[in-house]
Symmetry: C2
Subunit: 182 residues, 2 copies
């Protein structure tokens, strides 16, 4: 990977519904330390779950999953593999969908996405897929069998990344941002 | 690298002197979110400097340099290259010196060091060398020329890592800890 890439902030989302992790499209949000105020994953700390099995379940730990980012190109690839029309970023609980960076999920931890406002997100690595978005996708395509579990395999290595807010500021749909690869 | 390694916490240090980044050996410290209370690098945020040139200098950003970790083996290698008797971790401003993990500096970001208390440090990558520890080393070996600048080259790739506190807790000199490679 070369060191610098220009990308488009294709769309922005917030997860503030009570009963689902599915996010809603919005025009702009403020990145704060801990993520996006009001978002499901907002907070400087979280409780350790199955992804942090090195800690006792339920222990309070630093929250590396403040922001979820996907790429439009990888969503298209997952849709192709599942043979469905489309996979929308909000079904994956994404906060940011970017365009122009095909291999987002392979972005090494420590890489950064820098926005025109000066806001910056620090990549904390691949967002390992689980069945939850698969369940959502299954409800969108009731005529196609097995999407819940097929999603996990189809999206491994292509489901985007998680990150933390390194520098606060507003991010706006349509921004041209910069990826700095670590 | 294999996935799990047992290491020894060889020694622990705190940087609480007014006029230097050089640390002092201590028996145990509490890791808190932000690092070690009273340490020079303690804090959930810091001001962007030359290592964070993607942000305007002086901008408040999240602090990834909460804890500095070196390995005894790499300190010995640097000493060999500089042809000096020893390089002590405290001269490098280290908070933790570990033993039993030769290639610590190559530890990928996202890797973890887990302590018996449940405390955990998240690796944020290589601590890129600068001349400051070189100046300290030069004062220790006044008869050997050029150590200030030679240190930078000699320690590149071997000067240890920086990290953030992911899980709080006490860490004690002599602990057996676990490295989980990302």
């Amino acid at each position: 990977m070369s060191k610098h890439h220009e990308i488009e902030i294709y769309s922005i989302y917030i997860g503030n519904q009570d009963d689902t992790f599915v996010t809603d499209k919005t025009e702009e949000v403020d990145l704060e330390y801990g993520g996006i105020q009001g978002d499901l994953h907002f907070g400087l700390t979280k409780f350790a779950g199955s992804r942090e099995s090195m800690y006792k379940r339920g222990t309070e730990i630093f929250n590396r999953r403040q922001i979820s980012i996907v790429s439009v190109e990888e969503c298209e690839l997952i849709a192709e593999k599942l043979e469905v029309d489309q996979i929308l970023p909000e079904w994956l609980g994404a906060n940011v969908a970017i365009k122009g960076f095909r291999n987002l999920t392979k972005l090494p931890p420590g890489s950064r996405i820098i926005f025109p406002s000066g806001a910056g997100i620090l990549c904390e690595g691949e967002n390992l897929p689980c069945t939850q978005p698969g369940e959502v996708i299954q409800t969108k395509y009731p005529g196609i069998l097995g999407l819940t579990t097929r999603f996990v395999k189809a999206s491994l290595g292509q489901r985007g990344i998680v990150g933390i807010v390194e520098s606060t500021g507003r991010i706006v749909s349509g921004d041209t941002a910069k990826v700095i690869v670590n």
